[in-house]
Symmetry: none
Subunit: 196 residues, 4 copies
Amino acid sequence: MEKKKRDKREAILRAALELIAEHGFHGAPTAMIAAKANVAIGSIYRYFENKDALIITLHNEIECAAMKIITVDYDRGKPLKERFFHVARRMLKYMIEHPLEFRFVEQFFYSPYGIAFRRDKFFADTAIDNDEDILKGLYDDGRSQQIIKDFELSVFFSLAFGILFNIARDNVVGFNKLDDIVIDKIVGACWDAIKL
Amino acid sequence: MEKKKRDKREAILRAALELIAEHGFHGAPTAMIAAKANVAIGSIYRYFENKDALIITLHNEIECAAMKIITVDYDRGKPLKERFFHVARRMLKYMIEHPLEFRFVEQFFYSPYGIAFRRDKFFADTAIDNDEDILKGLYDDGRSQQIIKDFELSVFFSLAFGILFNIARDNVVGFNKLDDIVIDKIVGACWDAIKL
Amino acid sequence: MEKKKRDKREAILRAALELIAEHGFHGAPTAMIAAKANVAIGSIYRYFENKDALIITLHNEIECAAMKIITVDYDRGKPLKERFFHVARRMLKYMIEHPLEFRFVEQFFYSPYGIAFRRDKFFADTAIDNDEDILKGLYDDGRSQQIIKDFELSVFFSLAFGILFNIARDNVVGFNKLDDIVIDKIVGACWDAIKL
Amino acid sequence: MEKKKRDKREAILRAALELIAEHGFHGAPTAMIAAKANVAIGSIYRYFENKDALIITLHNEIECAAMKIITVDYDRGKPLKERFFHVARRMLKYMIEHPLEFRFVEQFFYSPYGIAFRRDKFFADTAIDNDEDILKGLYDDGRSQQIIKDFELSVFFSLAFGILFNIARDNVVGFNKLDDIVIDKIVGACWDAIKL
DNA sequence: AATGAATGAGGATTCATTCAT
DNA sequence: TATGAATGAATCCTCATTCAT
């Protein structure tokens, strides 16, 4: 009973993910999402208030799941460089191993949804959750230990992770081929960008 | 007569640029573009085959104009590092000084248009125009002179310029403040990322 | 068991009454009626064939209950004028003391339901029930005793009671304030309208 | 050019009038209105902001046209009783000669539109237009000349005109047959209701 | 008997594109 | 050539009704 309910919800989210990742928001009308999920159109509205809510939920669940994967085995006791390599490596791997999720999140990020999302985040002073805590922790430690360059936080993020998003984007469309060795070298280049 | 015709075309492109940059593709129906351009709806279809053509044209013209600005005074005789700094610095400056164009190109890049655009580019072997020639030249020189790290071209591009797009994006929404000194330090970090 | 069953039916009717009176037919979907009645949606269809049947039943029950209240203590032996005052006064009082019922019946009367209802009534020659018997009795007596004006029955009804519905409608929305004295004066005016 | 434009607008209003009068608001979806008006669905939205605006406009135009017809030849110099007969007689005649308009206005009046409309009117102190001026003038004169009964304005309106609406409603569905003689007798009964 | 998830036809609205003037 | 009214397919969403549990 409970199982089936959850299944249907998941099917809708999955269908939306696949359609939006592949065809963009324009290519994912509710009727098509419902069809792909083997569900009646109306059922979407039992599980989500409206299409926007469905998309925002999907985004949040992906972000949450991704952060869990990325930060597994993360050890705050390890030296800064090692911690950075741990996070950056997993981040890049996550993106190339989850191309649907990555493409969806990119679509989301640059759509009106993402703009609202970022604005909300920007104005939410204290809403720093654990995930960002880890990333911000890297910055704080690096600065206080005089290991990384003297930039403000947002610039640090761009230097550290902006590269990875570009690499992943190219990978997803087949512009590059990455194996563990190349990934490590790329993360090394990111480290070069931020370290003093 | 010729003048007026050109004016009308420009007005349409400008209106589309402003509306899409500010409100996204959803916020720029043809009727609104025509109104903002002080032009009849039907006139759009005299200058452009359809809305897609208008948007693709706008993108191409912006890309072309940007590259012209970025590569002005470019001296192929200068040392590699100096040439990289020249290009990277101007690229970042262009983006933060042309927020409408930057935001439009970002919207474009992550929309179905951009996906098609990138796919086309990927399959067009010989379609390397002069602008990319300069960027590719940096790569070829750096590799042959053993100055930059051993990555394939697309990875090099991400390392070298991916950071800049992220920085610019944050700047456009007000997440960071950049002056000439910070810009130079950022470009320096990009250099650290690519250099051996 | 029988009790509970009756309770559930009453709860559904009550919920429908309140929602429709307050928000109109548009503001009373079955799901909302069920929720307000603390009943499953499906249960509505156990007690009523469909939504239309529910609404028609509700109307009929209200009409029946109202007539009972209005005609209580009605004495056919009293003089005509006194009988008219008795009925008209109670009718007006009922409407202002039962605003939910009154508003529902009005909604009903002017909706497609009411149109069908009136059509059916018009074509049902013999379907004169006891309640209307009383009203029709007033007309017949008045005419044979030469006390009331020479109009056909339906005009008599409009003259006698049409005023009261308008007064009640205004009262329900707060356009007027009525006490027993004003009510009596109003009924007196109705009497003036019909009497010779 | 101008002619055709006006024609289309009129056709839409006319189609809405006929459908709503006959089948109620539920029986008049935009697609059906458009079809009946021989117009594309989208055209409705060129002439009216949305369906609500269309309906409100239709109501206002009918009310305005009706008041013009009713008050034609109205002579403020005539005695009160004569003025009342003039207005009441024309009002009843208008309603029975314009059954579509009458039925539409009734539907409107008892729908959510009408409720909002009445509320707005109630709270608009100074928004007394010329039409109501005439009706209110009857009341003011009658009261100051001690000709009509001592009721507040809204009760006066119900006594004077409430009857007429009921009569007209019955007439529209064929419950009664009215000729000029009966109409005059009915207006006389209304006069009896209000006069001292 | 009761439940409420599932269904999908139906409704309002938008907007790229056409074409008569 | 310029205009903008007209078009109608496409989209999101609602809600009466059914039916498996």
